[in-house]
Symmetry: C3
Subunit: 348 residues, 3 copies
């Protein structure tokens, strides 16, 4: 249950979210909740009939519900009949959050340590113990939360949200409307050595990371800086928690990298690519636009456009599925072959 | 070797840990150690005869040893004969650590930044540069270590230990005797988007995380907040390092998630479930009570109670083992089939 | 593109990096870059003819190029002909970085919180909000960056570089020339419990971690402390991001652990071992010297010296490859067997 500081009337909600209201009692709405935890001041949604029992017993004050819903199944509650209840619910939450956040004033903490050479635009919030080094630029309306460290020459655009305990190494560029969750490390050294004289000699990593507009990166993910040049995360791409992106990778626009994905160095990911959880991709490969790779797959060669791949090493998902079905039958087949062999040896 | 500030006599130890003492020389014990690194002030244990050579050469001052041990094999050392030497050794260490910790006084650092609206119970320790935001509550005897960030409305129970550089997002609830290791992120946004108008639109994540009593979570693990409702970690469950728990997961009591496990969203894990290292679990599944899933498995459908599963996609471990043994034989079988075919074509 | 504060003339570079200079115009060099992003002040290298088009269109001021290169392919640019252009390029970057860094003066921030009992050697840099607890020792020329936490009794050698937001738990030992990237956690508790009385009882983890000379550890990796004794990372070993090393592991010298590798407890890794990305290794195993394990492999038994292993469970890579090739053929084989069976039943 999320309770908001600002309360809304039924009328305020229905003027924002337009649908057919089945009105039972006027009420004040203070929170959004799941059906089963709701109270009389909760707004909820219902879409999946799997949760019909939760709906029937729910104490919610207002429920967003499909247009074709039989209101006799929930007669005593305010219902708002909508074409897409869940999307409308999401729109309401966004509206409500914005209402509340516009009440907050943006402050720069006096415990933040900000270099004199840093350029901080207007309406920026900087939390406690944040460190902003020389020549950093931060665009307007951005928020840098407590205990994050922004190293020298970093550029952060406008309307970004950097959560606590983030580290951005020097020279990296974060464009507009980027969200970096807590513990993200942007721009640590790529993993590059040359083996000579009996040991691994570090190759200096003097490139950077460029994160385009509207990218979101999850908690404790790591995006390595390029050896030279840039590691690039394209516009609108979303990256989940604990993901590793190696040096000099180039990820396109609107792609999805689920949790614990790992990309080795110099790999290219196209636009609208989907990598499910724990996928690993070897270095210097290309995964083309709109390809999808199933969870835990290990990609060892290029993946063509719109392909669906799966497995380690990753192959076309249909082929992989056939192989797996065959493998399940294999123990019985081998048993039968032995029996047949024995029989034929015995002259049967 | 762990050296304690408080030293113990042989007598103090044998009054705490009762067994049959084979006494050689009275001594003062100052540390616990492995057999091979021990000195004359060390307490050690011996249980596994694989390490008999280490035992024989050990310089330990006191060794916890099985009741049926032949003391002629280690004649010149103080030996304490016990039914369960290792468990007794663990009990001694816990006792010794408590003796030392009760000497420490709990302090709130003057560099911590604590909101006036926060409620801090008695005997709480708060480290340097810790940030405690508005309306946070912290129960008695809890420890929050340096540079951690506790966001607004978070509740932390009593006797918790939050290590350095932890981030807890707003509204999360941590109950009693919870241990969060360094770098943990509790309550970052779940990974949820709706694709429309050619891009991924963020679904606001307005739920929270609830961590029940006696949970321990390892370094750099991430537990995402629910979209609405709560992501729940049940009482006594232990989670290792670098684990990902997606939004709206519900984990039962006394389960074990080993390092680098990843759970997608809305998955339900029962009680006393064991997930070995690097296991991945798809979303909206149920792994029932007392099930065990082998390392690196990819769980793609429900796992029944007490089942042992393995592989990607995960199947019953015995079936999976049979499949693997068959697969090992397959290259030879195919070679033989080719030979037989050739022979039959040749009329042999 | 990496721009240096100190600029170099062609002559300064050619006196440091000796080769045959194909001189076109004297110029000042200010940065290193990739061929395609270079400007007239850039130094670049060329080695791989895959990038010949990038070379031809490059605006670089100086290019390191193979001795046998046909200079008519790039006639209007300063070229330095070298036996090993890339290695020479790396040497130049290292030299240039050192030139610049020796201009920086080392400071201890007045916002760092340093215990009076800590011993800090000369020429150490300590960043903002760093916490240094009791009895810590830091050797000369080491750098501890902002918001890191060094707990009591930790020893850090000379010429180390600890990036921001690192946590080192008490009693750990970091030797000389060690690099720890941002978010690393060194010495969190090993994952050890004894199940009795219906729950998991924590085994106190009172050992430590020892990190030998010239080790580098990537962003957000976690190296757990030993239960008793030490978890050891041997000299010159390089560990990438998001790697998990369990308690009491012992890793040899000059080994490589790629990103997201996970080692369970008490595993022994030899010298010059290579573990590719996302490899998992079960507990109490030994991977012997110079062994290589392919990406995503799950190691479930010992790996012999110089072996190449792959797969889950990991086997000799050649055997594994044969099995995989056979498996790809299996669906067709089963189809054929069915056809043959039908035919023979039909008396054909």
């Amino acid at each position: 249950m999320k309770t908001f500081l600002i309360h809304l009337s039924l009328q305020q909600i229905t003027s924002k979210i337009q649908g057919k209201l089945h009105l039972k009692n006027d009420t004040i709405l203070t929170n959004v909740a799941e059906l089963k935890e709701a109270n009389e001041n909760s707004v909820c949604f219902f879409e999946n009939y799997k949760f019909l029992d939760d709906l029937k017993s729910s104490k919610a004050g207002l429920i967003f519900i499909p247009q074709d819903f039989d209101i006799n199944l929930k007669p005593d509650t305010n219902l708002l009949l909508l074409e897409k209840p869940y999307i409308s619910f999401v729109i309401l939450i966004k509206y409500w959050l914005e209402l509340c956040s516009s009440k907050k004033k943006r402050e720069i903490s006096n415990t933040a340590k900000i270099s004199n050479s840093a350029q901080i635009d207007k309406n920026v919030a900087i939390g406690n113990n944040v460190v902003i080094e020389d020549f950093v630029k931060i665009g307007m309306n951005s928020i840098i939360e407590a205990n994050s460290v922004i190293q020298k020459n970093v550029q952060i655009g406008s309307n970004c949200h950097i959560y606590p305990n983030v580290t951005i190494y020097e020279d990296c560029i974060i464009k507009d409307k980027v969200i970096l969750h807590a513990g993200c490390i942007i721009g640590a050294d790529g993993f590059g050595y040359i083996f000579y004289e009996g040991k691994h000699n570090k190759i200096p990593q003097v490139g950077n990371v460029i994160i385009e507009d509207e990218v979101e990166i999850g908690a404790n993910s790591a995006i390595d800086r390029a050896t030279i040049g840039s590691t690039i995360i394209g516009k609108g791409t979303k990256i989940d928690n604990l993901v590793q992106v190696g040096h000099n990778c180039n990820i396109g626009e609107n792609s999805i990298l689920c949790a614990q994905v790992g990309l080795a160095g110099s790999t290219e990911i196209g636009n609208v690519v989907y990598l499910a959880g724990q996928v690993g991709v070897a270095g210097h490969l290309k995964i083309d636009d709109e390809a999808m790779v199933g969870a835990q797959s290990g990609v060892a060669k290029d993946v063509p456009k719109k392909a669906k791949y799966f497995g380690t090493p990753a192959l076309d998902a249909i082929q992989q599925k056939r192989m797996f079905i065959s493998l399940k039958k294999l123990p019985e087949i081998i048993k039968k072959m032995k029996r047949d062999n024995r029989n034929s040896r015995n002259g049967k």
